[in-house]
Amino acid sequence: MAEEVILLDDFWSSMFGMRCRIALAEKGVKYEYKEEDLRKKSDLLLQMNPIHKKIPVLVHNGRPVCESLVILQYIDETWPGKCSLLPSDPYQRAQARFWADYVDKKFSDLGRKICTAKGEEQEVAKKELIDSLKLLEGELGDKPFFGGEMLGFVDLAIVPFYTYFLAYETCGNFSIEVECPNFIAWTKRCLEIESVSKSLADPQKVYGFVLHLKKVNGIE
């Protein structure tokens, strides 16, 4: 059976889609990319993800997989051998899953608050983001990547959020590099890898998108 892999995604805004693109690139999986206009969802998207109606969706031989971290693990298990995303040791795997889960719990919400809130609420969100990044710096330690010598599950889970940093810094009027230099050094190392640099959206475009969303929602 000829293999058919489709990724339903939205290039500009979705950090979750970026995770999947990096994983497919790392694994050297050929796939068809279908751009979704989130204001006008395609029939294929609605059919493949009827529950959340969200991207990304990986469709492998007609069968859909939804939720980016579920997709990453599916990709890792379906195309093993090349560039393992998760380590082989169960304890290390548990740590990787823990930190990916941590990022999902923290970042989206904080990012949104930094971009849209004002005054005290914004300051609290900024501080929480910096504290979270410092915690991640501690977890990274001296390693080049969270996955060790090579990119791993946690690196893929986190690095797409970097595309929103320009937006956070501009809306929040602060510098993430000043507060968390080791974290930014890690993002720079990731960006030197082709599968990452080709999969991440341009931060300027992302910032433009954030401004557009704010305008559309009547937020200054």
């Binding site: 997989v65 939720e67 693990q73 298990e77 304890y91 795997r93 740590q95 899953r97 823990f98 889960d101």
Partner: protein
């Protein structure tokens, strides 16, 4: 598989109960440390500095936190005995997706019903029903009838998660005056949850109904009080 296993948990925590059930299904011997969540121990804070929550599984002195992460760790570490996740990557993806849905969407909605009253509670009740409808359709579509549980004849990760959320439905009815598990609206989910509560390992481990009712009443009263404070 050698090595000391300690579970830091709390008797009424659904997250803690999930891990206990997983350990029991695998036949793993463990020591249970009951944590007072109003006065967390030094040990707990040391083992889970990030979230400071139960459950934490400590295996050979190494801590693992987050219930779903722990259950996958258990499945990967103790490989003889029943599997908690299927072997096929697509089936595994389905289990992970639905466990995530139940946790993030269904459970959150139920918690909101517990913690609110009036209009906010009415909205939350409506949301629970929406999520149950999605779960009913999802299970019908993804898991043909025939086996007792999604995992086959023995409970697996998704069965365990659903039990932790809906197993206490009679407690919910008594404390909240709301019946979620309508067998006419959600026949598959209702029969699944019934089978779960009857499963011997589950039945033995379940805390007494009255004790759960008392706890939920206390939890709800505390939440309502702090909401108006």
């Amino acid at each position: 598989m050698a090595g000391k296993v300690v579970l830091h948990g709390m008797w009424a925590s659904p997250y803690s109960n999930r891990v206990e059930l997983a350990l029991k299904v695998k036949g793993i011997e463990y020591e249970f440390v009951e944590e007072d969540l109003t006065n967390k121990s030094e040990t707990l804070l040391r083992y889970n500095p990030v979230h400071k929550k139960v459950p934490v599984l400590v295996h050979d002195g190494k801590p693992i936190a987050e219930s779903l992460v722990i259950i996958e760790y258990i499945d990967e570490t103790w490989t003889d005995g029943p599997r908690l996740l299927p072997q096929d990557p697509y089936e595994r993806a389905k289990v992970r997706f639905w466990a995530g849905f139940c946790q993030q969407q269904l459970f959150e909605a139920i918690i909101t019903v517990v913690k609110t009253d009036g209009e906010a509670q009415e909205r939350a009740v409506k949301e629970v029903h929406e999520k149950l409808k999605v779960l009913e359709e999802g299970i019908k579509g993804n898991y043909p009838e025939g086996s007792l549980f999604v995992n086959g004849d023995s409970v697996g990760l998704l069965d365990i998660v659903v039990h932790s959320i809906l197993g206490a439905h009679k407690v919910h009815e008594e404390v909240l005056g709301v019946k979620f598990l309508d067998p006419e609206k959600y026949p598959r989910v209702t029969s699944w949850v019934t089978a779960l509560t009857e499963f011997p390992l589950v039945k033995e481990a379940a805390p007494p109904h009255e004790k759960m009712v008392g706890f939920l009443q206390f939890f709800r009263a505390r939440a309502l009080k702090s909401a108006t404070a």
